[in-house]
């Protein structure tokens, strides 16, 4: 009986250990992939006369990755917006009741301004007054939040930010 001799495995004549790149193999990474990875930072202007509430709303917004500018009065807000110092505001969130100009008046001014009227305005108030809420919405407010404002309230808004 003839012992079967193991036949040597055929050595392929061309099986490169190291793949040398051929012209067609080179991958071109499109530039747009990198752009898509960058998160577009939205800029929110928060207006409140209370330093406590400014700190809280700013923190909530920043935790949701928004860029935040806080001001303590509606007058100041209009000043900065009017001077073009805040050219890229995507949303204004303002307290309703403030000494001097109220948030409601700020809302009206913004909606009357050809330059600013596209900016969504959200009103915050510690008082649940139905008349107040409907007046604000009629005047063009994007939403009305009851204070104290929670992170869940803000995530609700994120779709509305321009």
């Amino acid at each position: 009986m003839a012992a079967a001799a193991p036949s040597p495995a055929p050595v392929p004549s061309s099986s490169p250990k190291v793949a040398s790149p051929k012209a067609g193999d080179r991958k071109v990474v499109p530039v747009t992939v990198a752009e898509e990875v960058v998160l577009e930072e939205k800029h929110v202007l928060a207006v409140d006369d209370s330093s406590v509430d400014r700190a809280i709303i700013a923190k909530i917004l920043r935790s949701s990755k928004y860029r935040v500018t806080t001001v303590e009065s509606a007058t100041r807000a209009l000043e900065l917006l009017g001077l073009g110092l805040l050219p890229d505001v995507n949303m204004i969130i303002t307290d309703y009741w403030m000494p001097g100009m109220t948030g409601y008046e700020l809302l009206k001014r913004v909606k009357e301004s050809s330059k600013l009227k596209e900016i969504p305005v959200v009103i915050m108030s510690s008082e649940n007054v139905p008349n107040r809420i409907s007046r604000c919405l009629e005047e063009g407010a994007e939403d009305f939040l009851l204070k104290p404002v929670r992170p869940s309230d803000v995530s609700r808004l994120c779709n509305r930010i321009r």
């Binding site: 406590v52 509430d53 929670r150």
Partner: protein, 155 residues
């Protein structure tokens, strides 16, 4: 992140009281919400907010005190000032102080000067107690932090 057990240590932030015929703690759920906002970027956020609160409230209360004296029976003005203070109290969850604002508002509505004065004094007292409680609370948290690290065994 602080250990949940430290949240309300024995100093009694959430201790019950039989005031107002019911049980009301010094701080409510809103205070937890503020603490929950703490993160690596702002590890002391709650304490910072509380500091802002006491700075603000001290100012507002002296405005009210002045108004009670300078503008007798000006209930609208008194109520407006108290509303501002109430707003801040709401934001940090100062539940006992919040309760007293409702009484004050009722007294204003009734035109009851005596009632307003008494109510405001109560607000002042609650404010002082709350300040003491929170100072102790944050002190304990600070002590627990480094103390916890120190007792950890070295491997």
């Amino acid at each position: 992140m602080q250990d949940a057990n430290l949240r309300y240590p024995e100093i009694g932030i959430s201790e019950v009281s039989l005031t107002f015929g019911g049980k009301i703690g010094y701080l409510d759920e809103q205070f937890c919400q503020v603490e929950d906002l703490q993160d690596e970027a702002s590890p002391n956020f709650a304490e910072e907010v509380v500091t802002l609160f006491f700075k603000d409230s001290a100012r507002l209360m002296s405005n009210i005190e002045l108004a009670l004296e300078k503008y007798p029976k000006d209930f609208n003005r008194w109520d407006a000032y108290m509303q501002q203070l109430k707003g801040s109290c709401s934001s940090i969850g100062a539940s006992r102080m919040k309760c007293e604002f409702m009484s004050f508002r009722d007294y204003c509505g009734q035109g009851n000067v005596e009632g307003c004065m008494r109510s405001f004094q109560k607000v002042k007292r609650e404010h002082t107690v709350l300040r003491q409680k929170l100072e102790t609370y944050f002190q304990l948290l600070r002590q627990a932090g480094p103390a916890g690290a120190a007792t950890r065994p070295v491997m």
